[in-house]
């Protein structure tokens, strides 16, 4: 029951927060310099007042800011995010087109980051100050500090261009057509189609961009897991467990890891939120038609409805993820549930 109240309360916060984000982003887009008419009409068209007037009328840019705002909020409450100034298609439709690609990549990246991050963190903590620990720490620092666009070019150059181990940019090889859209995630949709080779092809296209995106979060997870595990390992109840004669592995997996993983969960949640917001440069290099590319093109075109749409999506990502993380806290640690 408490858990249900908690979720309902969170959902109410969510609505209020989204309206706040929409208002804030609307005001910001109007404050910053940037004219969608100049950004989207050609030099020739800008000379023609008739074309400029028709353009402004088409997107409601001829109305005053308060009227534009009220119309926007009214439409938003009806789940209408408006029409993209750049593409002339509904923003919700555009987000629906590019978000699954980002979700697929982000989930793949976060799985890699979590599995290897936690594994490396445990190894590093168990083998504290050994050569293995130093090596893992070096990898995690590199992952955190390497610029993702450069890393993306590097892995593409070696693993695709030189060694031909992994496929190049794009979501599928050219000898496969896109699967019929069910979820928009090619691996799952290919499996739904029953086409295993296509699903494997789609999965193989996730590897390079997924690893590039995972590098940063994996570094953070490794470091957080290591430091928390070391903290927990020095507590009294672990000493007691050792005194009882339990094996090292049993102590770590059954007694220490659960507590050490709570902060790691936060890092994973934040990392996923970050990835779901889209990574412009990596998406561009890997020709991945996700939210990052869409956001970039929208900003370059001063496409305000799309910019607000992306901002709302990112806010929604973080809020949903934080809610899920809070619920998971309760599952991992009953003390959190009680409080």
């Amino acid at each position: 029951m408490d858990q249900l109240k908690f979720i309902i309360r969170r959902l109410l916060y969510l609505v209020v927060m989204l309206l706040g984000v929409a208002t804030l982003v609307f005001i910001l887009t109007k404050l910053i310099p940037g004219d969608p008419t100049v950004a989207n009409l050609s030099q020739r068209a800008l000379n023609d007042p008739k074309i400029v007037a028709a353009y402004k009328a088409r997107y409601g840019l001829d109305k005053s800011y308060p009227v534009q705002y009220l119309l926007y909020i009214r439409n938003l409450l009806q789940l209408d995010l408006g029409t993209s100034i750049r593409t002339n298609h509904p923003v919700l439709e555009e987000l629906g087109r590019c978000y699954p690609a980002t979700i697929e990549l982000a989930l793949f990246a976060i799985v890699i980051a979590s599995v290897f991050g936690i594994l490396f963190g445990i190894i590093s903590a168990i083998k504290r100050n050994s050569i293995l620990d130093q090596a893992v720490r070096a990898i995690s620092v590199t992952g955190v500090s390497i610029p993702s666009f450069w890393f993306a070019l590097l892995v593409l150059y070696f693993f695709y261009y030189k060694l031909h181990i992994f496929p190049g940019p794009g979501r599928l090889s050219t000898n496969f057509s896109a699967p019929a859209t069910v979820t928009g995630m090619y691996v799952i949709d290919s499996l739904i189609e029953g086409n295993i080779p296509k699903a494997l092809d789609a999965l193989s296209h996730l590897i390079l961009p997924g690893c590039v995106l995972a590098a940063f979060t994996m570094g953070l997870i490794t470091r957080t897991t290591r430091s928390n595990l070391l903290d927990v390992m020095s507590t009294d109840y672990i000493r007691t467990a050792k005194a009882k004669g339990l094996s090292g592995t049993k102590i770590i997996l059954h007694h220490a890891l659960g507590n050490a993983l709570i902060p790691v969960l936060t890092v994973i949640g934040l990392g996923l939120g970050n990835l779901l917001g889209g990574m412009v440069l990596v998406e561009t290099i890997f020709n991945w038609p996700g939210v990052g590319q869409f956001a970039y093109e929208s900003v370059m075109s001063a496409d305000f409805p799309s910019i607000i749409g992306v901002a709302l999506l990112i806010a929604l990502n973080y809020m949903v993820i934080n809610t899920v993380v809070d619920i998971l806290y309760g599952i991992i640690d009953p003390r959190v549930r009680c409080s």
């Binding site: 009409l41 074309i51 002339n88 050219t174 000898n175 092809d201 999965l203 290099i285």
Partner: protein
């Protein structure tokens, strides 16, 4: 427990490995012999019996509705799926009749009568008639989109019969045939477009809803039909089974929107794509020794220029004609060409090389620093001066305008002109200032709208670009009337004469210095033939065959 952990890690690695192997198996059909995409042995892309060509091009467009298309790449697709009354068969020739059987101008050049071919059918099977031509051109005009200005000199049209269209012009227009080749004036299957929300009514800008339909498929008479368009991802064209003319042996085009030049270079080298459309100078040099890859470099008609405002209020010292000439002499044109890359040209003056009537390029040894210093002294600036140069965040075919501004700054430092570069985003102030004519000193570029030298007439005093430099018609009463003269010169000889006169008059004077015609870089797999750079269409897909 250690074993369990190891097992989990190994399982994960196996999934990744399996996925990688899965791809390399399917990819091997395309990679081993460089004949990528011709067959789909392990895939399902429907090309098992035919030739598929994969092409990568840049981004920067958001619709393929001919009524709205304006940017660089959409004409490549529109030209393959739709057809126009006239067409450029190659980069050198003039516009030739295509859907038109013949044409005739009236004595006063105010009426153009076009007879249509009678055997043309759209992909839907509907026959093409004059009603389709009227609908398409009126729709473009009334949508009030970016390309609507192309119809400015078309006052009205009529269709006396199913295969005749009469254009009534507002004035003689020497570029009208070139304009009719433009993708926005492609002939649409009016029946299909109307069924899907299209209208050519005067209020089409608010009532036409066909864009959503035309962004998913095409409705033309071209050699190909667009079967899929995923914005920012790819466009798929498949052979039009009802094509009325003779086709090529390419059955399918997969056009990837892949803006990164490095990714294009790598995918071309590995055989994943057949044509890379927007490479940079660096990536071209990486491809030079690649087997099965042919490289094309040539100057495009996109031109970079220095603009010096004639209005002293904005231009300050650069509004002085002597200072303008000094700057023209101080620029190191060879250095500018190096920055822009192989294939760059410096046009003679306002008309780009390659256009009808264009003169030979400006010699790179035109630079004369000593003479520039003398001119500055004559103008009252023996010690030079300080000036701001405002530059936008745009690039000209991959060459950053800020890089060009830096080069100009270095060159002008040789004659003691101290340039302070001020960068400003195009959409955040620069565009407005440029349009309003309040920029004093800048580097900008101009891409041609339609493939005709008349697009450059806008740079003349009193015209839209001329006015951005504060250059009014009254300031140059000899040059300004040449605009009308060139517009009305429908005979080639007369046209060339007036275009040459314009170039001579702006070679050493005026507020514009044309510093570079940007290069176009294309590389392709040698299994193809007929690949060529096209100014009007970026590349004409209807001319490409697989060897």
């Amino acid at each position: 427990m250690k074993k369990k952990l190891l097992a989990v890690a190994l399982s994960f690695a196996m999934v990744l490995g399996l996925a990688a192997c899965g791809n390399s198996d399917s990819g091997s059909a395309t990679n081993n012999n460089g004949n990528n995409g011709t067959t789909a042995e392990s895939g399902d892309n429907g090309s098992a019996e035919g030739n598929t060509v994969v092409l990568a091009m840049g981004a920067g467009f958001s619709t393929l509705d001919p009524g709205y298309v304006y940017e660089k790449y959409p004409p490549l697709i529109v030209n393959a799926c739709y057809e126009n009354l006239f067409k450029f068969m190659d980069n050198e020739s003039a516009a030739e009749p295509w859907l038109a059987e013949s044409y005739e101008f009236s004595e006063d050049n105010l009426t153009l009568t076009v007879k249509l071919k009678e055997n043309v059918t759209f992909a839907s099977g509907n026959p093409m008639t004059s009603a389709d031509v009227l609908f398409s051109i009126n729709r473009c005009k009334n949508l009030q989109g970016n390309p609507s200005f192309i119809c400015d000199t078309i006052e009205s049209m009529e269709a006396p019969d199913d295969y005749t269209v009469v254009f009534h012009l507002t004035q003689p227009d020497s570029a009208i045939l070139s304009k009719l080749t433009y993708s926005s004036l492609a002939v649409l299957d009016s029946k299909v477009v109307k069924e899907n929300g299209g209208t050519d009514a005067a209020d089409a800008s608010t009532t036409d809803t066909a864009q959503a339909y035309l962004d998913t498929t095409s409705a033309g008479s071209g050699m190909y039909v667009m079967t899929s368009y995923k914005p920012d991802e790819e466009v798929v064209l498949e052979k039009n089974e009802n094509y009325w003319g003779e086709g090529t042996n390419v059955d399918k085009y997969i056009i990837r929107i892949q803006p990164d030049a490095n990714a294009q270079m790598m995918t071309l080298s590995t055989g994943d794509i057949d044509v890379a459309m927007n490479l940079t100078d660096d990536t071209m040099s990486e491809l030079k020794d690649t087997e099965n890859v042919e490289i094309l470099n040539s100057a495009s008609k996109t031109v970079g220029f220095v603009m010096m405002n004639m209005n002293e209020q904005y231009g300050g010292p650069v509004s002085d004609p002597k200072v303008q000439q000094a700057i023209r002499l101080a620029i190191d044109y060879a250095g500018v060409q190096t920055i822009c890359g192989e294939g760059t040209l410096t046009p003679y003056s306002l008309i780009q090389s390659g256009f009808m009537g264009s003169k030979d390029p400006r010699p790179t040894d035109y630079t004369d620093v000593e003479k520039a210093k003398e001119l500055l002294t004559d103008a009252g600036y023996p010690d030079g001066f300080d000036i701001d140069m405002t530059v936008s965040d745009l690039d000209m075919e991959g060459v950053l305008l800020t890089d060009l501004a830096q080069k100009i700054k270095d060159d002008l430092a040789q004659v003691n002109i101290n340039v302070n570069i001020v960068t400003q985003a195009w959409a955040a102030g620069y565009g407005d200032a440029y349009r309003d004519g309040t920029l004093g000193f800048t580097v900008m570029y101009w891409g041609t709208d339609y493939n005709d030298p008349n697009v450059q007439l806008e740079f003349l005093p009193g015209q839209s670009v001329g006015l951005r430099a504060g250059w009014t018609a009254e300031m140059d009463p000899e040059l300004a009337p040449l605009y009308q003269k060139a517009m009305e010169a429908t005979e080639d000889d007369a046209r060339i004469a007036v275009l040459e006169e314009i170039q001579d008059k702006t070679y050493e004077s005026g507020p514009f210095i044309m510093i570079a015609q940007a290069p176009a870089h294309i590389a392709y797999n040698t299994r193809l033939e007929g690949v060529a750079i096209s100014d009007p269409y970026a590349m004409d897909l209807t001319l490409i065959n697989v060897k």
